[in-house]
């Protein structure tokens, strides 16, 4: 039983790897698209700019989509969530478009980036948020946020100047704007929920 962490050359994957290792998920950093076929779950991390992530991720697009359509639970984190959408105000590059909607800049009324711990408002019952309540805090670091066209994908929101999509889900596709790997025990709980899904 193993979880692939897609290592497409952006940012720092050690923390997510380490957190998955801690919960005994058997993580493996995958640097080549052809190796992505043999995993029970796929994690798509992402930091830095939307455009850079998309450029680097494009060679993985087909294999991740194939895994997703084959029913493999897939989790996008931070910019790894944003790239699932159609486009972003941050960069001219097109997103993956697997979730309809766009990514926009945080409002001017707040400090940007949002950096720190915020609570969730849970919008729907979804497996990865099992055991999580509206009182729990999660670690966010981002300057842009996702606006899904279809509100039914919203699993949780957070309040930062406006209502921000914090978690979305559709079938076996999940994504979170915050960093579960840096959100203490509650963050590990979310990763553990995800890993348990891969073992059904």
């Amino acid at each position: 039983m193993t979880i692939a962490v897609v290592d497409y050359g952006v940012g720092n994957l050690f923390s997510i790897y380490n957190a998955l290792e801690h919960i005994e998920a058997g993580p493996e950093l995958v640097t080549e698209p052809e190796d992505l076929t043999r995993f029970d779950g796929v994690v798509v991390p992402g930091v830095g700019s939307f455009g850079r992530c998309m450029r680097q991720l494009s060679r993985f697009e087909a294999v991740i989509l194939e895994a997703l359509e084959g029913g493999t639970p897939t989790l996008g984190i931070c910019v790894g969530m944003q790239v699932l959408f159609e486009r972003s105000e941050e960069s001219p590059e097109e997103g993956l478009g697997w979730i309809k909607g766009e990514v926009v800049r945080l409002p001017d009324s707040v400090l940007v980036p949002q950096m720190g711990w915020n609570t969730l408002t849970i919008k729907k019952e979804v497996e990865i948020l099992e055991g999580i309540s509206d009182e729990d805090f999660f670690y966010f670091v981002h300057s842009y946020f996702c606006v899904p066209k279809d509100g039914s994908v919203l699993a949780a929101t957070t309040d930062y100047g406006t209502e921000i999509a914090a978690a979305v889900s559709r079938d076996n596709l999940f994504a979170v704007q915050f960093h579960p790997e840096k959100s203490g025990q509650k963050g590990l709980k979310i990763l553990d929920n995800f890993v348990r899904l891969t073992r059904c």
Binding site: N18, G48, L111, V112, G116, N118, K182
Partner: protein
């Protein structure tokens, strides 16, 4: 609502295996506090929102020790880890991230070669690049200095570098604004006049920087008790407060500080 953050800071002397946490007073006298990864784990369990490690030895032969400190910590501590001291190149950043850090703080290098801020931000995102400013209060601001009213009269603040051993001549407040423009994700603002004194944060300095930048500011230097943290959150726009001694010597637990703040209406992570 976003919570105000409490950040324990570990000043690490890496001249011994595993390293050791020490704490100075106004950047000078040094006192032993414990083993870095053990203290970090304790603070994590008490509810620290983030942990900062500063290499106060900061010579190149000790980098390996810092990497092992971070590796040991990152196995059990799942909040952001920031590392600073002696970071000169993006290669240094890469190495410390590979050990498990999430952010780096740059001070001397950024003053001498400001492009490093953009280089880190480009590769790892702005959030990964914290610019640390050690600010010393100076009397009689001259033309071109940003003047701040303080209890000692009109003042300006000068950036120190090389761990407080030298002064750069650079206006600390202007530098914070410039660092934001260059791509810094956060400012770690330390008052050299208050550091280790237990007299409380430098409120005029902190306020002056918070009012001029649109990125989070971490107030640092002088925290002697929970009331000081309450005060800096009440009277300035600081997003986070950093403290060392009050946590190291068992005067306050991170959880006790948070309870104190929550009871007085400051929004913190429970």
């Amino acid at each position: 609502m976003l919570a105000r953050r409490i950040i324990p800071c570990l000043d690490c002397d890496l001249a011994v295996p595993q390293g050791r946490v020490v704490k100075g007073i106004e950047f000078k006298q040094i006192r032993y506090a414990g083993v870095p990864w053990e203290l970090a784990t304790r603070y994590y369990e008490e509810g620290a929102d983030e942990i900062v490690f500063l290499d106060i030895t900061a010579s190149s032969d000790r980098r390996e020790t810092m990497k092992s400190v971070i590796r040991d910590t990152a196995k059990n501590v799942f909040v952001p880890l920031a590392v600073g001291g002696g970071i000169k190149t993006v290669d240094d950043v890469r190495n410390i991230f590979k050990a498990g850090a999430d952010k780096v703080t740059v001070n001397t290098t950024a003053l001498k070669r400001p492009e490093i801020i953009g280089e880190i931000a480009e590769e790892y995102g702005s959030q990964a690049c914290v610019v640390a400013i050690d600010a010393k209060r100076r009397d009689n601001p001259t033309e071109g200095r940003i003047s701040v009213p303080t209890p000692q009269g009109e003042s300006w603040f000068e950036c120190s570098f090389y761990g407080g051993r030298e002064f750069s001549g650079v206006d600390a407040i202007a530098w914070a604004m410039e660092a934001e423009r260059l791509g810094a994700g956060e400012i770690l603002l330390t008052s050299m006049d208050r550091d280790g004194t237990y007299d409380g944060f430098d409120l005029p300095l902190t306020d002056a920087v918070c009012k001029r930048v649109r990125i989070p500011v971490i107030a640092s230097g002088g925290c002697g008790n929970a009331e000081h943290i309450y005060e800096v959150f009440l009277k300035t726009g600081a997003s986070a407060a950093l403290a060392a001694s009050i946590f190291h010597y068992d005067e306050w637990g991170v959880d006790e500080v948070k309870r104190y703040l929550a009871e007085r209406g400051i929004h913190v992570r429970a």
